[in-house]
């Protein structure tokens, strides 16, 4: 009894009267002919007719079902009971598994009460104890049931007939006739006005839920104007006393004195003053500052928009909008860690490699009277990912006399 597979063509149960190699000693769960399977569970009549069914012994030749769903098929083993000794041993093992599961579940409950969460280590201990006991309990329960199925329940190889999925022709014909008759009785075919007005009424009913979704957009802007919001950032605005916005360090909020920003090679992540915690602003207006020696800058960079070699580019990648946060000093490459678009910071942040199609827009910077870096205007082109209404904004800006 080493072959535990319930599957293909077991070697026992051979056709044409060859002797059974594995003779079932006992048939459990095989309804006898007097007590067919039908209806038994509900009527309370005996499920397995004769107790003697278990003792049919060596004469047993495969399944004894009369039920038309289980025809005896040569070569199929039927219900092969387990060896009694195997079953008794398996019972002990399964019981042990169930006891183990019980113990683990009790431990789970105790752990829940005893171990409190709190600091990292306390939470960790509670987590491991709860998870460990739960895992052990589930594993033990599952193992016990598997031992029950495989070593106590009989091995089954029963056959059930399939029937074609299609209904018989006469049934189809009857249904078709019923449909036609019903359609005729309803008059939907004859009464054209009824049909057409009903369809007419249904169309707006289908549209209503779609219309209701319009206010998912909470901006209150006409739909055709929505894209205009994407074109501008707060850098184009002024402070309340009419001054240009200062560039402040992301995180600390410190304004940057141009003279102090003197670290060629490094980059700084910068946000507009007054909007340090406004995520909607940061998603568009975050900027990176790079300081160059004058001879390093190439033609792509607008020198008029730099101050003392300090160049500002949008940090929002023009591919799908991740912050392009990595910088390689020796090559002046800005790299977006999401999809590896690479931009040349010395050359107007033109795309060197990767899926981004456009350079990072450059922000015009200058200094105010106190020497702090300020934005001298908005980006000339929309920042971030492309959208349908964007058009070739760079070319448009050039046509309008700007520089990019």
């Amino acid at each position: 009894m080493t072959d535990n597979e319930h599957e293909t063509g077991r070697p026992d149960g051979r056709p044409e009267g060859r002797p059974e190699r594995r003779t079932p000693a006992r048939v459990i769960g095989t309804p006898s002919t007097e007590a067919p399977l039908s209806g038994t569970p509900l009527s309370g009549t005996p499920m397995s007719g004769r107790p003697g069914a278990a003792d049919e012994g060596p004469d047993f030749k495969g399944p004894v079902f009369e039920d038309p769903d289980f025809p005896a098929v040569p070569g199929v083993a039927g219900v092969v009971p387990q060896d009694e000794r195997t079953a008794r041993r398996a019972e002990r093992i399964a019981a042990l598994c169930f006891l183990l599961a019980f113990a683990a579940l009790v431990a789970f409950l105790v752990t829940y009460v005893r171990l409190q969460t709190g600091g990292l280590s306390a939470t960790g201990a509670s987590h491991v104890a709860l998870g460990g006991t739960l895992t052990l309990a589930l594993l033990a329960l599952a193992s016990g049931i598997v031992i029950w199925v495989r070593q106590i329940m009989p091995k089954y190889e029963l056959v059930q007939r399939r029937h074609p999925m299609a209904s018989p022709e006469d049934v189809r014909a009857e249904v078709a006739a019923t449909f036609v008759r019903g359609a005729g009785e309803s008059g939907i075919g004859r009464h054209r006005l009824l049909r057409r007005t009903l369809l007419l009424a249904a169309a707006p009913l289908g549209l209503a839920p779609l219309v209701l979704l319009r206010d998912l957009d909470t901006t209150g802007v006409p739909a055709a104007q929505l894209h205009r919001k994407l074109r501008h950032t707060v850098w184009g605005e002024r402070t309340r006393d009419g001054k240009p916005l200062r560039l402040v360090v992301e995180g600390t909020g410190q304004p940057i004195r141009a003279a102090d920003f003197n670290s060629p090679g490094g980059i700084l992540s910068v946000v507009p003053q007054g909007y340090e915690h406004d995520l909607n602003v940061l998603a568009k207006a975050t900027v990176i500052l790079v300081k160059f020696r004058p001879e390093e800058l190439k033609a792509g960079t607008n020198r008029n928009w730099t101050h003392d070699g300090i160049v500002a580019y949008s940090k929002i990648c023009t591919h799908v909008g991740c912050p392009a946060a990595l910088y390689e000093q020796t090559t002046h490459h800005i790299l977006c860690p999401c999809h590896q678009s690479t931009f040349d910071a010395a050359d107007g942040a033109r795309v060197v490699f990767g899926p981004a199609a456009r350079p990072l827009p450059q922000l015009p910077v200058g200094v105010d009277e106190e020497g702090y870096l300020v934005a001298r205007g908005d980006f000339a082109a929309p920042v971030g990912p492309s959208y349908w209404e964007r058009g070739d904004a760079e070319a448009r800006a050039r046509e309008n006399g700007g520089h990019l």
Partner: protein, 553 residues
Amino acid sequence: MSELRTVPERIAGPATFLDDRLGAGGFARRNLRKIFPDHWSFLLGEIALYSFVILLLTGTFLTFWFKPSMGEIVYDGTYAPLKGVTMSEAYASSLKISFEVRGGLLIRQIHHWAALIFIGGMMAHALRVFFTGAYRKPRELNWIIGVVILSVALFEGLTGYSLPDDLLSGAGLRVTQGVVIGLPVVGTYLNFFLFGSEYPGEDVISRFYSIHILLLPGLILALVTAHLILMWVQKHTQFPGKGRTNRNVVGAPFYPAFMAKSGAFFLFTFAVIAGLGTFAQINPVWLYGPYSPADISAGSQPDFYLAFLEGALRIMPAWELNIFGTSQAGTIPLSVVIPALVPLGIIVVGMALYPFLERWITGDHREHHLADRPRDNPHRTSIGMAAIAFYGVLWLFGGNDIISANFRVSLYTTTWAGRILVFVAPVLAYAITYRICLGLQRSDVAVLTHGVESGVIKRLPDGRYVEVHSRPAEDIEAHLRGREPVPVLPYDEAVPPKGMRGPIGRLRLRMSRAYGGEKIPIANGGPHGENGQAALPAGASPDALPEDRALTR
């Protein structure tokens, strides 16, 4: 221990109560002993089903504490490193679930692991169904339901891992937004309808929340139910073998064997996921910090099932069209639209249409209840492997930065390798798989016609030595002989049938003849030991040598 002779009163009572009211007896009679065929590969779908149950249970638990709000608060929980940090309520409540709710971290990690195993299980199950042809008539509808469940589950996963609002989940959300807004014509509108305003707005978490916990799970639950009902009604397929035909099912009855086995399998699945949730850390949101659109961490990766989209985005060249030039319309960012739509479209639409395309090509309108062995339909298997290669390359290059960093290859080289491999690998996979399938068919035929090496060397009277071959075991032989040729459209060289004369008809016929037919015919004949004679004396039982079977198992 006494055997049960009658139904115990405490079961008979309620059963009678129900039957009096529902007439359920007929259903129970037909179905309690319903036969389920047994094969390990039939359990893959069950893994997905049980993971889904676990997802529903653990997800409900998580909703009791999770606050789907982007409102900003200052963190004041027990996780010291983030004390005093401004963050969204969603992130703060995720931290609370992880650190202050007993068992919260466990359930959160179980939920995440179960999501991965749910989708992984579905993928493995779909591949099993595909390679065995179990999607064929009458099961096409169930196949399509499965494809829809898989697609919906991808969005379910996406909306789920965006909820904690940590830095990593925000990066995923940002990429989603970049893709949505890039869709031609409708992108901007979709962006504003989804986010309520410009990205990120204040609404997306709560909207994703109701999509994630109500809309999509409800849809999946309904579809899973339909999937199971259809499977039940149509009965499971089985592999060919002794006593197994297209007109029967051979296996174990639902009650008690299959029921108990399924219960145990549920517990095993749960145990494995609970073990992973306990000992394998997943998505440690507290390490990432709260989301800010200005920050990112290197090496950000989506969950595995979206990595193929990520890979497509990464290896795509920088193509962008402005079809109306400088006017304010007409921008099509191909470097976003193509990777977002094309691979997913090829895979999902290809899966959904495959049963119908195959039927169109083979002209096979019969019902199929016997599963093919993958080698028995070599073109289908090759197409499946090509799809796996395509998906696999995209998936792998979703981590092109990780590959480059670990193997010290230039990032550009890695990316270029991906750009080339995404076309080359499917072709190679197709060709190699096709050869392997034919080779396996030949080896099957060799077993049938030549027999199995018995390990017995025999000396013939003339002094030669031969190895005796014995007949394969009956079950093996029945299994191998279960192959039937892939059907081909009937054709006539001289007078092609009507409808086969146009270019499409001729293409259909050519594809049919290439796709179908018997590549390696199964020849009849017994094993032979020497001089083509039967190796075993007549009358000797082939099963007399049980070790022969071991050789072929």
